[in-house]
Symmetry: C3
Subunit: 345 residues, 3 copies
């Protein structure tokens, strides 16, 4: 399936592109070089010299210009050649420069029509905007599966009852029907588990009541940005008396079958509890990498590079969110293909 | 080349599918889950959930039902869904269930039309039927070559004279023309080496005469079940005065270029000699894995995934058995394709 | 791109094919067995038995005949079967025998029409003809890139200024325009850097003058044999007062994307200085394997198995040599294809 291109993809956490230094990372199959100039200004260029196809990331940065390490051509942040020790600078001496933006502790890249980038805001992750370090953590995992399998995983939270029975699961998601709400460039998928057996994780987090009301409200923004607001109270108590965990799962395609998986988390309570913060981050990695990731990579392996729908999956009511996500994204990709101006790559 | 499907393939030795536990193994390219219920009854299911394609082998077994570890669907031995915590059980919620049979210390699977399985006996390996443990051994090796290259290897025993000169060879196979006898679903390939220089292995096994009469009688049953009855006597002595080694080589395709290679061996003498038994088993593995396997895998590598006949092999008289095996199997596969009802996979 | 076939390729250094023993090496994608008979006479055969496709290199040599280790067929140096223990020797029992020649400490193979081999001399490497051991060294590296990327690398020496700034570079190549001279089956590419800042390597080699005249004269002979004569004198001094380093870089395609890279070096001074000889050889390997090789392999990776011209490289004046090499070689390959008689392989 082609990718949605006219949108912001999270390419890296900001600390992954240090003040001096470079990051070379494949995004939607294309090798991209990320670096900063002396003022910290971020640049993303196609990581392939137009002369002899050496990776520019094997070169060096000076005054915001990247010099190819093979024959010394220099390219500025706009991709234009600004140094050719061998002769005239002709127009064809340029590399694709990708619009980039920083925000929410991340480096974002625009892989589509650059004309459209300026007028487009980053997807709303405002709950990460001004968070104390003691209440925030992020992370990165590399996954060997198509990015939409990782998106599906979050859309259908009933998986927690079977894949994470001793932490996030317990059965309440399965007994609950999610509510889907249309958004402009996405969907909300809301799981409200009312008067339910508390999930083991709620016990760990201090809930003592026999029954709980809980909410897990997912916002999916195309193509693959997902946030979750999650909390619980003793059954019947007002939601406003509860605490909220705020988590983002952002999946950026590296290739058709590999994914950059970014996590971030904060909360609206105990914001100065660094010990709790560290524990939450460690648990998230432990659960995801030992339970979700192996299952999703095994799915991909069983699909043997065939397209999801071509395998005729049998759908369950709990797939409603995932199916609507895939359909909405598919329609957006089709619409984009119709209006797109061809991109140089 | 397509596979013969309406036949029993050895999938595992029985100890490989323990009472509690599962075995996931690819057979003819398809991932298959083998497990037993509480009564030890064996089941083989397509190892891929029809919902989201997770391997069922990442789930758990309870009361003979396998529960998918991702979203909790449960499938019974017949492949029908018997537990759907998310809604109604619809007909499409099923996985392919393969007929299985146990016998000759092995787990056998039927990859073709299940209607035909019941009426078909396992291939005759009766000489393994009731054997003392002290006179029996079996083993498994994974081979990186097409299964028919392993079959060819046994069909043409002249290879022993060159590949195993210090044990099974010695020259007598080359000086002998094999006799081929048509069987209903196979061929007999008989090597009777009369008044010949004894093979080194016969010396090791105690033969002292200068000349020997020996017999190595192969029964090939389509597609790839081979037994060998082998023995020797001093030249001119009655065959009934000799001892017999009884060996099976059973090659089950994993993929087009990889093979599950099963061995089993017994004998009609010294049946309570456990030390001899262990020595025979160890020698078999040592010879095969250091001499046959590297040669056959090198053959496969040189063939570069091209079809055997397309490479125009130059055939020798000693290839007669192998060629008739390949032709007979080819004809059976063609005949099967003409009458086959399409299988769900 | 097809290969030039009617020419001598360096297949190995002579010590790589020992008196007793064999070397199996893929040349232009074909597996070739190299061995010597009792008199040291060299043979090159297709390393695949025509019977069952076993590599002949898994067999043994006796009296100049290679015996297949699987079923004992024997092939003489001309590729004809001379031993068939299983029956008559038919004409089809033969393997392709490649013309071979020894010279310049190397083993050379002819992959094209054998009729043309006899009348063709080895490419001229006469400066290696009678060299004291103390003034000669050779070496071999395996490279993961198309052989023409390695050829391009030598053609455009401006790369030294950027890839080897502290040794071979310094800027003088970039400020110099190479002179290209047509040869019968090749090109000369001459870099004369006059009145220039000395390269760091010249300082290391004892030059003390502020400015230097230097010469680096490359002879490329199709398809991929390159020699370099290189030296320097204080600016304005006669060239005859200088010393010459004499180096060969010979790239033989293993496959489309891998290369056998052979080096050899000598000089016209300090020929009995073994310590210097060892230092030169060590430096060459150190520089090439840590600077050239990683860059060229990264180029290949970025080209993703696409053909060089199809990627529309932007050419610089310094590419003139490399471009003329590729065009001349392309024309030779086309001309050869038109007149070629088909080869059995």
């Amino acid at each position: 399936m082609p990718y949605l291109r006219d949108c912001w993809y999270l390419a890296a956490w900001d600390h992954e592109v240090p003040a001096e230094g470079m990051l070379s990372r494949r995004i939607l199959g294309e090798p991209v070089l990320f670096y900063r100039d002396d003022k910290g200004q971020l640049t993303a260029l196609h990581d392939r010299c137009p002369h002899r196809f050496a990776p520019l990331s094997r070169g060096r940065i000076e005054d915001g210009v990247v010099y190819c390490g093979y024959h010394g051509l220099g390219f500025a942040a706009n991709g234009k050649c600004v140094a050719n020790p061998h002769g005239r600078i002709v127009n064809s001496l340029s590399v694709r420069s990708y619009p980039v933006k920083e925000g929410y502790y991340g480096v974002w890249i625009w892989m589509g029509d650059p004309q459209l980038a300026n007028d487009t805001e980053l997807p709303d992750l405002d709950f990460f905007k001004e968070v104390a370090e003691s209440a925030y953590s992020n992370g990165y995992l590399h996954g060997d599966a198509n990015y939409l399998l990782f998106v599906d995983n979050i859309c259908d939270l009933t998986h927690a009852d079977y894949l994470h029975p001793n932490t996030l699961g317990g059965g309440s998601y399965t007994r609950t029907r999610s509510k889907i709400i249309e958004r402009e460039r996405g969907l909300a998928i809301q799981w409200h588990c009312m008067n339910e057996v508390p999930q083991p994780i709620m016990r760990i987090n201090g809930l003592t009541a026999d029954r709980a009301d809980s909410w897990t409200e997912i916002e999916w923004t195309a193509p693959s940005i997902m946030t979750i607001r999650n909390g619980s109270v003793p059954a019947g108590s007002p939601r406003s008396s509860g605490k909220n965990f705020l988590v983002a799962h952002i999946m950026t395609p590296e290739t058709e079958t590999t994914t950059h998986y970014f996590f971030a988390a904060t909360r609206d309570f105990a914001r100065d509890d660094e010990e709790l913060n560290a524990r939450i981050a460690a648990n998230r990695v432990a659960i995801f990498s030992s339970e979700d990731q192996p299952m999703i990579e095994a799915q991909q392996e069983r699909m043997e590079d065939q397209e999801f729908w071509s395998l005729n999956p049998v759908l369950l009511p709990s797939d409603e969110g995932a199916v609507r996500v895939r359909r909405k994204l598919g329609a957006m990709i089709q619409a984009e293909a119709k209006t797109a101006t061809p991109q140089a790559s």
